[in-house]
Amino acid sequence: MGGSLKEVGILLGGPQGSGIETSMWILSRVLVSKGYGVIADREYFSNITGRHSYIQMLASSVKPPRSLKYPVEILASMDAETVFTHFTDISEGGILIYDVNTSSRRIDEIPSMEDATRERVARILSDKNVEPSVESVVKYLERDKRILPLGLDFSALLKTLSEQYRIDARALSRFLSGIIVSSVAVVLGLSEEAVVQGFEQQFGERKHLVEQNTALYRLVRDALSNHYGAVRLDEPGFSMEKAMVVTGNDVVAIAKIVAGVRYQSYYPITPAADESFLLERYDNIVDETGEVVGSVVVVQTEDEIAAVNSAIGAALTGARASTTTSGPGFDLMVEGLSWAGMNEVPLVITYYQRGGPSTGQPTRGSQSDLFNAVFAGHGEFARVVLSSSDHLEAFYDTIEAFNIAEKYQVPVIHLLDKFLANTVAVMPVPDLGGVGIERGVLAKGGPGYKRFSLESLISPRAFIGARDTVMWYTGDEHDEHGHIAEDPEIRVKMYSKRIEKLNLIQRELPLERKLRLHGPGSPDYLVVGWGSVKGVVLDAIEYFSEKGLRMAYLDVKLLWPFPSEEFLKITSGLPDSRILAVEHSYGVNIAELVSMSTGRRIVKRVSKYTGRPIMLDELVKGLEEIVSGRRERVVLTYGA
């Protein structure tokens, strides 16, 4: 591969449970320690061991990357299935790392492959007149695509390692990740020192694993000595002294600790559960001297119903409380959500969308629950729905979710998705100096305290347990004390009070919490979207601006109450025909939400609902189709 590159795409593939994720973590940290930006998306089946899993990464020398692209420069495969599934994903002149022991494998000998996938790949191969074996695919890539195949003898490498360290044969598969990390590092010309640091951070106290993986790195480097640095990344062009490498789940959990969460409940569900695992790992919160300054009670409940309702119970006592789930679990929480709305409870629900309906695609991404978050629940009540577009935003938004919940005494749904939850990204270390904790209007209570006082829109909140204070809550309509009341006058006052908070929230939240406009002012086209499509849309906009087309992106962060006035103001100079919407759903629901909230009709829509992330290349093509006037609606499908 001639010259050096601004950015390199890497795809790592292998069976689920074989260490692909470990490889991703080590490589990400090594690259970041060298000053590169990294983003890595993890794609996997709903399965523990054996199904095809892959990581798509992008390393950049110029900026922290925010989207993925195809094809990639390097494909590192642990098994034959990866070669078959991804051989079309390697760019011309790229590199294929594979295990020579799989050479003779044929596509019909791979039981873990889904029939539909096998047939699709076989059809592609047959169209190209390529035999469906690894060997033939490798030859085809080398001959027709100028791809450099680097065959490694995985078993020989592991055998040498096992002889050197007397490792039990059954434990050897644990070192597959070491081969993948080492081979990619060698091809990228990353130093042994950096790679060893990566092993050290990954394996921590298990020094023998660091030593053995280092030995493996040397074996791989010797085997690939002619190709050391075959793919050259430019010298890093941006500088951070230190950075965080985190998943979206991690960053939300970390932010919850900063926010002061003291109670978190959950019922296991993908892709939300990892957040609670991290919280539980850090349930003793310590200051710089190691002194415990607080603790988080993390409870795995019997179901999502118990999760939401126990979090509400905790919130009534004054603890910052949250629960976390994805679509199917949220559905079960909705009755509790209405109760929280009725009782003005500050509750935070962290909602990671995945592919539905029903269990749908349990491990894949989607943004198709927008309406579920905004409208779920019987009756009318105030709720706030926030979305985050990247890891760093998710950090600050998580804290803001608690502040809003307590300040306005409303349930807040923090709407995220699987792409963010599972994507590893580099981000700056957050600056806590800019973080505020707002608990809203609190009351000491005392005899005669009225929890639902009608004297102000926000009734001063005392906690259950406050001295000499007694209060009542009920899901029924109630009077100022919280006792059941069916009198029509009280009904009107209480009902209106609860809903009219939305106006206050609209008035008080700053613009940057609601909408963020990226790109040129007075653009030729405006793309509207929310959540994790931001990164790829921003990269597409940059591409178009280089071509002389001025495109801007309007990121909707506050989904409810919808910032109608601000939206209308920002879009006032643009005709409907110059506005597009992008979303991971069939309907591109944000366009409907805009329409009902503002009366503006966005017809042009780009949609993707395969469960895989939107790649820069396909989005650019899709937007071109729409801008050129050829199509009004484009459905993207790229990805294995």
Binding site: V32, S33, K34, G35, G189, E235, P236, M240, A243, M244, V245, I257, V258, G260, R262, D283, N284, D287, E288, V293, G294, S295, V297, V299, E302, I305, A306, N309, S310, I312, G313, A314, A315, L316, T317, G318, A319, A321, G336, W339, V426, V429, L432, G433, V435, I437, E438, G445, F463, I464, G465, A466, D468, V470, W472, Y473, G475, G482, H483, I484
Partner: protein
């Protein structure tokens, strides 16, 4: 001695005249009085239905929740502020129908919460449908056809779920029920009282007359001792309680079936994990100082060092 507080609220109980709920309410008020519980440190959590209204009639903190969900609410309240006394009131449909999973979960966890079951065999507030404790083929006057489902045995379910205090009372024996409630509230761990409660409007099978004839006290057997003295004794006492729980019909036992003080509570187990938990409640641990997080930048970076990568750049590559 004059009670320090009036435990009766000024809300009018709108139950049917003669309802068993009145007996339970009176026993509860008397128990609170005799225990002299601080109303601000006591919480009654209820579900939906006639029994769900109980908190409004009592002058302690009251949380009237969703159908079947009183136990999860109580769980969050108690774990966030373990200093509170938490008492759950629910009907048989509420706790053993829609809320059965939560009922079992509380026993497994042995959280220090008292559960009082208003057990009348029917769904009162929706006009008399068969509840989970109504026997197969029983036909109350509100049912179009005899009950087609088998009943749940609340005492047996509580015993097998891990409740460490299990008792049964009768709504119209107020003095006796009051004592059971006092014992349950004072017990450290998950406590359960099945309260036999005539529904005078919809259940003409389990009437006051029926119970008056059938009910007898466990301690009338001079050998009866439900308290587990050493943890080795637990299984023997549990088996005896199970055996007693199966008695139903002409003779129905009330009283304490089983008490095991040797099982750690969920709060104690949390206290072993969370160094601050036994002395500082999640509900009152400071989370901010002057509007800033309690965690300093330095503490943050130290705490989350596993996620922080030092960037050395490509020098010496």
């Amino acid at each position: 001695m004059e009670p320090r507080w009036s435990y009766k609220s000024n809300v009018w109980p709108d139950w049917c005249p003669g309802c068993g709920n009145f007996g339970i309410l009176t026993a509860l008020l008397k128990a609170l009085e005799e225990l002299s519980l601080d109303p601000s440190q006591t919480v009654i959590v209820s579900g939906i239905g006639c029994s769900g209204k109980t908190p409004h009639f009592v002058n302690v903190n009251g949380v009237h929740t969703l159908h079947g969900r009183a136990i999860p609410f109580a769980t969050g309240i108690k774990l966030a502020n373990p200093g509170l006394k938490v008492i759950v009131h629910g009907g048989d449909g509420d706790l053993l129908g829609i809320g059965a999973g939560h009922f079992v979960a509380l026993g497994r966890r042995n959280i220090d919460v008292t559960v009082i079951l208003h057990d009348n065999g029917v769904y009162g507030l929706t006009k008399g449908q068969a509840s989970p404790t109504l026997p197969l083929k029983a036909r109350t006057k509100s049912l179009a056809k005899p009950n087609i489902q088998q009943p749940v045995n609340p005492v047996l379910l509580a015993l097998s779920s891990g409740y460490t205090f299990v008792a049964r009372g009768y709504a119209f024996d107020g003095a006796y029920l009051k004592n059971l409630i006092k014992m349950a509230v004072q017990h450290r761990g998950a406590a359960f009282i099945d309260v036999l409660q005539p529904c005078i409007t919809f259940n003409d099978v389990y009437t006051a007359d029926f119970y008056r004839k059938a009910v007898y006290k466990l301690e009338s057997d001079p050998g009866w001792d439900p308290v587990v003295k050493t943890s080795e004794e637990a299984s023997v006492k549990l088996m005896r309680a199970v055996e007693k729980s199966l008695e139903w019909g002409d003779r129905i036992p009330v009283g304490v079936f089983y008490v095991n003080p040797h099982v750690s509570t969920f709060e104690e187990r949390l206290g072993e994990r969370l160094r601050k938990y036994p002395v500082q409640n999640p509900s009152n641990t400071p989370i901010e100082s002057a509007g800033k997080p309690v965690l300093s930048q330095e503490a943050f970076e130290k705490m989350f060092k596993e996620f922080i990568v030092r960037v050395s750049g490509t020098q010496g590559r």
